[in-house]
């Protein structure tokens, strides 16, 4: 920057140089500097804020706290991980969380697939934009409002679900795993429908026609033509629903009764024992890394 000069360079400057800003022409002659400065901000953001905080998380996980004041002591230890590995409560909560996230993903796929199919292939093209908007509508409402309305609905005896089930001699399942899975499925469903919709819309009609011409019935076409093309979209949607469920701790607090997920462990411990909370927080990170790695091997990430 210090070499910026108001005059155009004397040697070999083209005729239109005087109209260009001197700074611009300087950058024109230094493409590498230009590129670095251009990338500095986004890369700085990525490295410092995003990767930096992740790195900080891992570093913190190896620290410990003063047992009385809760102040962090920066001394290296494996104690936090040893405790997670030896206390059965923590692998129980990890398995429970993964189970809930998997259930939410499967449910979202089962509900999302027919909806996306209808939107992309059955509904009149003029209606599609409206349907997409409708699917997105819940995202405009506050997360908390939606979760609290599910709390009211799941209320034993007086809630809507109890009212619906009472004629069959059943009561609302109350607050617990079922309520948590239902609420999370509702919350993250749009994130599953949208990639599926985009994927289905991309399938050319000619492929479906060809399949039918060759004598395949609907089921066969779905299995052999639609699903292979749709697979990457399904995986993309599952990444959203799975990871969002894995990290959630507020929904389960509101509709989960006494149920706890990994996020709750972090929330419970970060006030008193931040390093331990950090160690617990690495579990979902590891689960996601494994998940993404498995997904990458299917090639789904290349099609996002």
């Amino acid at each position: 920057m210090s070499t910026v000069t108001p005059e155009a360079p004397s040697d070999g400057a083209p005729a239109e140089a005087p109209q260009r800003h001197p700074l611009a022409s300087w950058f024109y002659r230094h493409p590498r500097t230009r590129l670095s400065l251009l990338l500095l901000l986004p890369l700085g953001w990525l490295l410092v804020v995003y990767l930096g905080s992740l790195a900080m998380l891992f570093v913190t996980a190896f620290w410990q706290v003063d047992s009385f004041t809760g102040q962090i002591e920066r001394a290296f230890t494996f104690d936090n991980f040893v405790e997670i590995a030896t206390d059965p409560a923590y692998y129980q909560v990890a398995l429970r969380t993964i189970g809930i996230a998997a259930a939410v993903t499967v449910l979202a796929a089962l509900i999302g697939l027919p909806m996306a199919f209808y939107m992309a292939r059955v509904a009149r093209p003029s209606h599609r934009a409206l349907l997409v908007a409708l699917v997105l509508t819940p995202l405009w409402a506050s997360y908390l409002v939606k979760v609290y309305s599910w709390r009211t609905m799941f209320q034993p005896e007086t809630g809507v679900i109890a009212w619906l089930l009472n004629p069959f001699g059943l009561d609302s399942p109350g607050y617990g795993a079922l309520a948590t899975i239902t609420t999370l499925t509702y919350l993250w469903l749009p994130y599953m429908i949208l990639p599926l919709y985009a994927g289905l819309e991309r399938i050319p009609d000619s492929l479906l026609d060809a399949s039918a011409d060759l004598g395949a019935h609907t089921g066969r076409t779905f299995r052999s033509v639609v699903m292979p093309i749709l697979w990457p979209s399904l995986v993309a949607g599952s990444i959203f629903t799975f990871s969002l469920s894995l990290g959630d701790y507020i929904t389960v607090q509101i509709v989960g009764g006494k149920l706890q997920m990994l996020g709750n462990v972090v929330y419970q411990n970060f006030t008193l024992n931040l390093p331990f909370a950090a160690a617990v927080a690495t579990i979902p990170v590891l689960v996601m890394v494994v998940y993404l790695w498995a997904v990458r091997r299917t090639g789904a990430l290349d099609n996002l």
């Binding site: 590129l35 670095s36 990338l39 890369l43 700085g44 490295l47 410092v48 990767l51 930096g52 790195a55 900080m56 570093v59 706290v65 003063d66 047992s67 009385f68 004041t69 809760g70 102040q71 920066r74 405790e83 206390d87 059965p88 409560a89 923590y90 129980q92 909560v93 709390r151 209320q155 034993p156 005896e157 007086t158 109350g174 607050y175 509101i254 009764g257 006494k258 706890q260 709750n264 462990v265 419970q268 411990n269 970060f270 006030t271 008193l272 024992n273």
Partner: protein, 394 residues
């Protein structure tokens, strides 16, 4: 290739920066010393950030008639920002983060804040209303360290057993209804979601299992501690929901999904005001409770506003208002004459030391037994917190 090299350079840079940050801020644990503010208390600095239990610093937003913050602002010119917390652990964590000038700390937070060097000694001679505080609250182990006062007593109360009168009958007089695996309220019981709740189990064991020899619910040796945790593990089967957010408790109580459990007087008052039929009792086994202290942050930039606040909050009029709103015994003796309900101090046993004999104020358990035993090691609070986390997540 270009990009990946750039990434590498950047990553190295970030790692170096991290390392520098990690090393640079180390060694912050100095011994708590410092002298209290010499005074005189001058003009306010303009703003005051208050960290308080819900109900301690009301500005009319909960109930327009309940407001002692606005008059303070008008009188002193100190703009008050209030942040509330749900557990003592949260208070300690928020204070450690900084940015607050005064805090209403319970006995299980005060000593931790002193030890962590987050609060400063308080010069009680700069707080004129301190003279009228009950002698029974002054110079106690939770607000005074080595003869140095670290705060102004605010008030005290017991963690009560609250129940829905229409769903729980006969009216309970024992914590048994919340601990018995065959409780008639199975599935609708609530408990306080904090490690300190282990002390509530210990209080119950003091009465029901005298063989354990528990003298102080915050001084538990390993055997006593294990018994308390076992009781809580068994209790989990009859719990519907745990609470730490009192608004959620209010909703659950109103809906009837929670019918009985530990509570605060202020929650009962709010629930009753909302039309929920609730009553409460201090059970026969005794109860845990709190004796709160207003403390001043070590690094406050509003020292004058802080002292003005300390004096304001324990002034006879305001302390009476707070005590009545929150449902606790005031700290200021003169407040008793100023409460709207003239029997308030009698109802809350403000001056009766007898009543408080089976109320065990929140305290911070440490390895050195608080009850004076020297032949055993007690379970420190860090272990309480681990046990609670393990119990809740199993």
């Amino acid at each position: 290739m270009q990009i990946s090299r750039l990434l590498k350079v950047g990553a190295t840079g970030a790692a170096v920066a991290l390392l520098a940050a990690a090393c640079g801020s180390g060694g912050s644990s100095s011994t708590p010393s410092a002298s209290p503010y010499a005074g005189p208390v001058g003009k306010g600095e303009g703003t005051l950030n208050v960290l308080a239990w819900p109900g301690y610093a009301e500005d009319g937003s909960t109930d327009p008639a309940v407001d002692w913050v606005t008059p303070f602002e008008q009188k002193t010119g100190c703009q008050v920002n209030v942040k509330t917390f749900g557990t003592s652990d949260e208070a300690v964590q928020l204070m450690s983060g900084g940015g607050y000038d005064v805090v209403s700390a319970s006995g299980d937070a005060t000593l931790r804040l002193v030890a962590a060097d987050k609060v400063q000694p308080v010069n009680t001679s700069l707080v004129p209303n301190y003279a009228d505080v009950f002698a029974g609250l002054k110079d106690k182990s939770w607000n005074t360290v080595d003869g140095v006062n670290y705060g102004i007593p605010h008030g005290r109360g017991a963690n009560i057993l609250m129940y829905r009168t229409d769903k729980v009958s006969p009216a309970p007089d024992s914590w048994a209804i919340t601990f018995d695996p065959n409780s008639p309220q199975k599935g609708s019981v609530t408990a306080y979601d904090s490690p300190i709740f282990i002390a509530d189990a210990a209080v119950y064991l003091m009465a029901t299992q005298p063989d354990l020899g528990i003298k102080d619910p915050y001084a538990l040796d390993q055997t006593q501690f294990d018994a308390a945790v076992a009781l809580l593990t068994a209790q989990k089967a009859i719990i519907g929901e745990y609470w730490s957010d009192y608004t959620k408790y209010l909703q659950a109580s109103k809906a009837g999904t929670t019918t009985v459990g530990t509570s605060w007087q202020v929650i009962q008052n709010l629930a009753a005001a909302d039309g929920t039929p609730v009553e409460s009792v201090k059970p026969k086994e005794g109860a845990t409770g709190w004796s709160d202290t207003w403390m001043v942050a070590k690094d406050t930039k509003s020292i004058n506003c802080s002292y003005l606040w300390l004096d304001w909050i324990v002034s006879p009029e305001v302390n009476a208002q707070v005590a009545e709103w929150f449902g606790e015994a005031p700290a200021n003796e003169k407040s008793c004459a100023l409460t709207a309900d003239k029997d308030h101090c009698a109802t809350f046993h403000a001056g009766e030391e007898d009543y408080w004999s089976d109320v065990y104020y929140w305290n911070t358990p440490s390895e050195k037994c608080l009850d004076g035993r020297t032949d055993v090691k007690c379970v420190p609070y860090s272990e309480w917190s681990k046990a609670w986390s393990s119990l809740r997540n199993a």
